[in-house]
Amino acid sequence: MFDERALEELKEAAKRWEESIAAALSKRPERKAAFVNTSGIPIERVYLPFQVQGLDYQRDLGFPGSFPFTRGVQPTMYRGQFWTMRQYAGFGTAEESNKRYRYLLEQGQTGLSVAFDLPTQIGYDSDHPSAFGEVGKVGVAIDSIEDMRILFEGIPMDKVSTSMTINAPAAILLAMYLAVAQEQGVGGGQLNGTIQNDILKEYTSRGTYIFPPEPSMRIVTDIFSFCSKEVPNWNTISISGYHMREAGCTAVQEVAFTLANGIAYVEAGLKAGLDVDEFGPRLAFFFCCHLDFFEEVAKFRAARRLWARIMRERFKAKNPRSWMLRFHTQTAGCTLTAQQPKNNIVRVAYQAMAAVLGGTQSLHTNSMDEALALPTEEAVQIALRTQQLLAHEFGVADTVDPMGGSFYVERLTDEIEERAMDYIRKIDEMGGSPRAIELGFIQKEIQEAAYTYQKEIESGERVVVGVNRFQVQEPPFKGILRVDPAVRQRQVERLERIRKSREARKVGRALEALHKAAQSTENILPHILEAVRAQATLGEICDVLRDVFGEYQASVSI
């Protein structure tokens, strides 16, 4: 890309420049002896063309919408259409969440993102003893198709794309969604959306696993196969680095562990007899946007390039859509502070900008009060407005990949890709990410990084405004959102009513058929759909699968 003689001359000039500032530096040294980002990559004083001299434009960057997609997955990116503004929301009952979704859509949000409560995520009905205290708390409680029907009342399911953060019971919630859509007259071919369905990161960081890894991976590939025929535009998985990053890992580790999990899913699909181009185009990703602005922009670019290379070179995918790493971003919840919470508006705004400059397909911006409780409507509105401001007022969406060509960002992109690839090789040598998880390798790496980060904050080496610098005495934050404790009672009553009024024989037959299918290699999705339509509850369906598959027992070490 550069003229070699000019580069040599530049190197000489740079040497002279370093010498010329040496005296001034010894008098007034820089703020730190060494500048290093969270991934441990040393940061130079200034980046010059020879630091990216190995870059081959067509090979390493290419055109937007073309391999290796470093500059973006679409040819025109946000000049055609902005990213999808998608706020993760849900709490209490289906009625309350439905109200919040309609509010968000009225406010100009362009996609929905459903948060389920923990009992739903772990496959318990609201009346299960383990659900005590948790019903409706971190998301909406969904026990049966009845709740799903209420959740989407008055929302045109053919027009809105819906992302559902659901993993172990993803097949069941997807089945409920399909069944309700059908009642609205919307067929599988018209549906757009995503289920998270990424079980591997549940074992390493997020914790809502139910079944052991092997049957869990089988459910994942059953979903791939079912959706490729029945719901062709559905993103069947959202391979997530977000939760590992939130649990403490670095940007490089986030890329590495996420793509290593991606590799495991592709291998599972192939092992199940699917063609890579049958399910490859429907794999989606989900990343975090943390604080280090340039590191984050480079991370997204590096992840895109690395995945494209893995899919084309390692898995021989032929469909360009299989090469594309399309991703959702959420700003980093762990960077929100409970101290001076309004400062979080600023943190989120810059994180959102980094995600946009990194070429995200959809974005969730956190609300300022989320270190304290679930967000209020006012806080959510500011978070959504942050995205709208970014889209319409700052000009950052007017050209594709505006950071491309920055010596710093290109160098960082290379380094993140290289370091992530080193991790992936190491994980491959262990036998792939499921094995690395079994060995506790990934968990340990995340924990180490989290502990280091905390020590840096406590020593003052890492400044967190309002926490270890610039603190003030402040009154308690007023006006947080509280979930009505009567939610559980309402859910329990609804469950009782459903269990009484439904046709018990039909439920029994559907669950029995599911039991049989789970024991064989038959795809379980059609049977789950039957059970859901017969008004079997989420807990009942999961119990059938628990019976066949068993439950995962985590081993913990600190």
Partner: protein, 135 residues
């Protein structure tokens, strides 16, 4: 047991919440501060937590919840501790706990609440100053 027995701590995650970054960081920090630390892992029922307190014969119990279920789980654990005859254990609570909930938790017997932004060294100090160590 001798007078020089090290402080024994159980770090516990009651409820269904899987966020244990804080719990693990704290467990490491307490261990580095010379305490003996046991971590329960996630998804413990109040009964399991209290059984572990008794079986492990700990001086301190650190509870963590980020799902908003602290309002039910923490007081329930305090009740069970009394019932099972372990009322002397020093209990701390951490996680996403609104300040307006702190008083009710303190009334239930939780000695200290440590929310986001807390320093592990402050928690170490709090434990050292408040633990009723058995000899």
């Amino acid at each position: 047991m001798t007078a020089s027995r090290r402080i024994r701590v159980l770090v516990a995650k009651p409820g269904l919440d899987g966020h244990d970054r804080g719990a693990k960081v704290l467990a490491r920090a307490l261990r580095d501060a010379g305490m003996e630390v046991i971590y329960t892992g996630i998804r413990q029922s109040p009964e399991q937590v209290v059984n572990a307190v008794i079986q492990e014969d700990v001086d301190v119990l650190c509870l963590s919840s980020l799902s908003g279920a602290h309002d039910y789980l923490f007081p329930r654990i305090m009740e069970l501790l009394k019932e099972k005859g372990a009322p002397d254990v020093l209990v701390l609570g951490g996680g996403i706990i609104p300040e307006e909930d702190a008083q009710a938790l303190k009334d239930a017997g939780i000695a200290g609440i440590f929310g986001p932004g807390s320093f592990t060294k402050d928690i170490v100090k709090f434990i050292q100053e408040n633990v009723r160590q058995r000899t």
